[in-house]
Symmetry: D2
Subunit: 348 residues, 4 copies
């Protein structure tokens, strides 16, 4: 460490998942930034459904928590040190972290799709530690400077907002688009806001829960429908784009029927491994079905979009927790009124 080493301690607090449903505060060494890395003092960490899933089940599909793991990948903070290849001018910058580290040399990395890199490291995905701790390292170009106009919380939420922007980009949303979003949770909300950023004029969101339908109208949705209502007819929507955010199989099936010819369906929410899909419908209407896996360089776009009128990421935050209370944060989604919980690791 080159510059302000005097002010950086050698050890730090970390909230560590040691076993299924078991978190422990541990003292760990502060990491050292590699050549092209920055060291970031963590401020806000948003709690994501995948964090909750690892906490509750100890795994997500083939990703199994075998060794103690630090969760958290929605992160803002302040650069406090830099690796030898990075300008010291960055020290002191408020940043939002894009929590991935691609190999940069495979065909995917070189073609602008580094999210598909097979050697990609990602925060809080075993065995890579996340950000529910005092300090993290990140590649210098994955720590994005944020303007004063964005709060620490908003800066952390640029990560799930990036998922929404990436999904809307794949769905080719543009001015005049009619977009169907299934699921009115935090991802549905961020996708809806992203759709408006892309100019969508209609964002129809479906959800089974009335209170969530009502709430989503404040997050970009222009209409919120109950898919269990007998009067609900997906075919009549004739949507240009359909973005699935619920992980529910019936939502996926009705969404495909809601698309007009040539429409695009994007999978964001993950549910069943396999779903019986109407392949003849896909063929005869030339629908396009794809999905998003993280994102590619969406932070500049997210930072810009998050400052536009109508896009208030702070409004998603329904609860704040201290790092010591991470367990409470990870179970806070038991409350039906919960939208997005944030762990405040440090603050200005």
């Amino acid at each position: 460490m080159t510059t302000t080493a005097g002010t950086i301690p050698r050890t730090m607090r970390a909230s560590v998942l040691t076993a299924k449903q078991s978190l422990q505060m541990q003292e760990r060494p502060v990491p050292t930034p590699a050549a092209d890395d920055v060291l970031v003092q963590v401020r806000s960490v948003g709690v994501c459904g995948s964090d909750v899933h690892y906490y509750r089940n100890g795994r997500i599909g083939d990703f199994i928590v075998r060794d103690p793991l630090v969760l958290g990948h929605e992160v803002s903070g302040v650069v406090v040190d830099v690796g030898p290849g990075v300008s010291e001018d960055r020290v002191g910058e408020r940043v939002a972290i894009e929590p991935q580290r691609p190999c940069r040399i495979c065909r995917h990395c070189k073609s602008g799709r580094y999210n598909l890199c097979e050697r990609l490291d990602f925060y809080a995905t075993p065995p890579i530690d996340g950000a529910l701790c005092d300090y993290v390292v990140a590649p210098t170009d994955f720590a994005h400077r944020v303007p004063d106009a964005l709060s620490d919380h908003a800066a952390a939420l640029l990560e799930p907002f990036s998922v929404g922007l990436w999904a809307c980009s794949k769905a080719a949303v543009e001015p005049g688009s009619r977009v169907l979003v299934t699921g009115a949770g935090p991802i549905g909300a961020l996708v809806s806001l992203a759709a408006r950023s892309y100019g969508a004029s209609e964002v129809v969101v479906t959800d089974l829960v009335a209170s969530r339908r009502e709430r989503i109208l404040g997050f970009g949705a222009t209409a919120a429908l109950d898919p269990s209502d007998p009067a609900f007819d997906p075919e009549s929507l004739a949507a240009d784009a359909f973005i699935e955010c619920s992980g529910a199989t019936p939502a996926l099936l009705s969404g495909l029927r809601a698309l007009h010819g040539g429409g695009i369906a994007v999978l964001v929410g993950l549910g069943d491994e396999e779903v019986p899909l109407p392949v003849q419908l896909i063929a005869t209407r030339e629908l396009v079905l794809t999905g998003v896996f993280r994102y590619v360089d969406t932070w500049p776009k997210a930072i810009a979009a998050a400052q536009q009128p109508g896009t208030d990421l702070d409004a998603l935050v329904t609860a704040e927790f201290d790092l010591e209370d991470t367990e409470a944060a990870l179970t806070s989604d038991d409350d039906p009124a919960s939208m997005k919980s944030v762990v405040v690791v440090s603050s200005a």
Copy 2:
């Protein structure tokens, strides 16, 4: 005429360009809608720079006014009759007219680029008459129903707004885009509004006239710069997209230098036939230079975008004229405060 023929007169008023700088009110037969046409009673007609150009010079490039010509191609109105192939349900609809009529069978028409159809008819382009008259015919699918939320004037201005949307589509504007627009006249304003519809976070407009720079900040521009200011440095803009709306050669040249690698330049304003362009710069930065010629099916998009907050097409209208005063309308741009003049042919 099938339905309400009783209420439609056999003749109508038309403001006819009989020679350079000479307009005459004439009595003309009301046109009869062909099989797939509608007959529209004209309400508002926006005055476009090309109308003024034909009026002043009697030609635009190879398009020469040899026979008397009705000007006007920014048009709203009400459907009053339909051809035999069109449902009578359309009678009574308020519509905005897309003022072109493609052949529908050439390769361009079949590939979604009917604006490039070599047999395309276009209002107010010799020898096709425009809409500065009481009634016009249009193909049924080129008369777009407009919602009550849009005024007759706004409905007419969907035409130049369509140019802006088409330009932004070609320029691949999206959330986070930094867009340079050269020229703060009505087209610059509509392009700027369109860029915001596409999610652009920065819309930098240049114009030599201070009052125009100030005004454009109310029409989507996030900054307005004086290109004659010695401190103005196009290279520092590093724009993603550049949309030329001034027709001025220096604006085109500095705009190309304002693009970062891979940026897209779109020509909207037409000035000199030929311009000395930096071809090595285009090659070594892999810039893309293209232009717009009208638009393809942009009305649905324009209607949706024109209803979004921040997009107020009525605000562009600086003067209204009666059909009898068309000559005054065509010379109203002498007033530097003029933005968009509208001829009110009829009203509700």
Copy 3:
């Protein structure tokens, strides 16, 4: 009829499907070309799997043969008359017919996707008659002039070749692409040839039948594999594109696993209405799944590609039949050596 009416009879032969598995030769009036139509004397008609399906089952999904129907939509012929809006110069032209007739005014037609037009008529799809008869009408721009270098049979086979080209276009095949094709029947062969036209360097075809695997190597395939071989490992293919031509569910499932991240799957063969698909795989690899429904203006491309070395459409023809023997033609695929049967309605 304007020009050579003297030489055109008033009635003609037609092979009519009157009930499931029942064909009848009937005397029918020769159709009259509408304004923008041409009248074509039929030469060669290829037999397609859908013709066979209608013959055997009386329906394909929701398309039910309720009234007598003429089958056949792979058609070449000679223009013998024109409608009033078409130049008489076309009389005498050898043509290949694109067997569809879109409305030309809906949003799909205007956006270059007229194959998705909801009012589209298509030969041999109830209630529209096909071409197993002496004369047919077609829109003038859907009757494509063919050069002498292409035989009547080859000209007819431009239709299924168009399906292959359209599929390869959607699959973004280009030089260097590794393409997986499942199914070595006539469609698999035409897709493989099309993939080579697009520059694919590897075209791996799978089929359960050894003789079909062997044969496909003469139609563009660079390798032919047995998917039932225990050593067959789809994951190891790392294909850029996967084009499903068998309609077999296991082929679809293994094909999706054969794609590398970001790969594109295109459904051509239709089998089960619904298939349980690995949606998490689609999402986490950002695969794209889509399908083809006919084609859009592929004849110019097909005519050009069919004349390139290595693309010999005539080589697909394994049997010829007279119009009176249509029933034999429709059952000729019982022979495992059958590739493509052609009904010779007339010849030069």
Copy 4:
């Protein structure tokens, strides 16, 4: 150096440009591969027009040869050592080198356009040395394994062939495309071959020299025209794509007129810094004008395409020279029959 260091000398021969038109054979240290580099023993080096330009003029535009410079960037060779981050399995591989080294962290690098990286190093572009010497280093992923089917010379020529493929990709060449190529020199030939790889059915090449026109017919051109012939009418070509390979201003101007509406022009040959271009034509036909600057990850594609029938890169080689005769190689284009000269640095 880890493995075969015993066999690698400490110094090597290098042909060094010490001043305008002055080459010197020098003894230089063999370079050491950095962490992710390989060390390659050079075999064949193609002579490019830019090498000749630096030799004759000591500069290309703003790139000025201030210090001694090794020329040569069309390179094949054999891996003889690897940096500490690279598997030793690569030692012994025959490779073609993509002669660039991007920063991998800027926005261009991360979006799949690393050729636009502003910190990119490129062989034989001051101050970066090229390959007219015994050994060079390259990033491991920029040294592409070549199959036995490609000769050392062909492997070196994958570099200019890559330019052709990249140009055809930007020009959206596909089956059925009609392509105009201006200039029948080596780049025109490689662009023509590349266009055929992309499926172009017509490749019309123009050149003022009859012998070059005749020769190009062996390299993918389907027609070769004399642009000085009074009968030559570019407008009648109605080309889909136009690829400028001559650097001649009249060729650029006539090529733009040869494009039909919506056509794409790609600048490859560089001539004048500025050219008076028909901007109104570009706008009213919605032409697209762009250029290529090197390429992005084209070697896999080039390796595949170079093995297809009809693409024989060896056939371009008109002369071979020893490293000591580099000066003769750099002046060999004085001979009008010269197409491509190759310096044989070593051989198997």
